[in-house]
Amino acid sequence: MGEKLVEAMESHKMFTMNLFGLKIPVSDVIVSMWVVMAVMIIFAIILTRKLTSVPNKKQNVAETIVEFINNMVKDAIGPHHWKAFAPYLGTIMLFLIFANTISIFNVIPGEGFKLRPPTRNINVTVCMALMSICVVIYAGIRYKKFSGWLKSFIEPSPVMLPFNILEYFIKPTSLALRLFGNILGAFIVMELIYMALPIFAPAALSIYFDLFDGILQAYVFMLLSCLYIAEAVE
């Protein structure tokens, strides 16, 4: 049982890609991220074709999603600077929602490639947290100018300098570890349930562990990025 669990948690090399003489190993984590990207791109193309000023059915869905994200970002960042960050935050939230809940679409029977959440790998979450902290630094430099951003390190008093520097390391660490730990924890619990009670029980528990937890963590990641940006631009 332990080996099966470890096998499910680790990433496996699927094939090697040749790129300009470099041999790049491609793992199943990357392949499942490609699946998420493909689904998102197809949805985006279908939903935004033939846009009209009087919305039809498909356009209503797209407009609801965009409105929801815009309102949330506007509430958190404020009415002046929200427009520059809404696309990034919306993309990251939709990507994480799809990525965290992808295991409920794992309908291929048998061994081999399985759709498992790519965010159970710590490299993916660290990368997303680094992206967020880069946006936070960019927001600070853009809206406070470089000198104002440097000055923000010694506010409210120069004694706080080490803590303010440390903040830029703690924020991405906590973002990455929170997402990774939550998704991996829920994933392990679901794998144990699949092993112990393969009939009926996974259907009910998957609603909490896959859907609710995945969407909540995507929302929390986006909300925390929002608050960090709001703190940087004020």
């Binding site: 939550n182 991996l184 929390v220 909300l223 925390l224």
Partner: protein, 76 residues
């Protein structure tokens, strides 16, 4: 002396961080329910702040889980 048993006990102790997170989230949710009962029109704001507070309180439990996983899978 076998190291495996000691590592398993260490991982179990690391998961004790969950106690703090449970108490913290319980307190936060209790206060949020009180707030919504007293002022139902502020439910939206209270929900956002509660989710955020719960996520931050939960982080300690998640660190415990990560430490336990590192102990089990990298040291055993």
């Amino acid at each position: 002396m076998t190291g495996t048993g000691i590592i398993a006990i260490a991982a179990a102790i690391a998961v004790f961080t969950g106690v703090g997170a449970g108490v913290g989230i319980g307190l936060a949710t209790g206060k949020a329910v009180e707030g919504i009962a007293r002022q139902p029109e502020a439910a939206g704001d209270i929900r956002t702040v509660t989710l955020l507070g719960a996520a931050l309180a939960e982080a300690t439990a998640i660190y415990g889980l990560v430490v336990a996983l590192v102990l089990i899978f990298l040291k055993m």
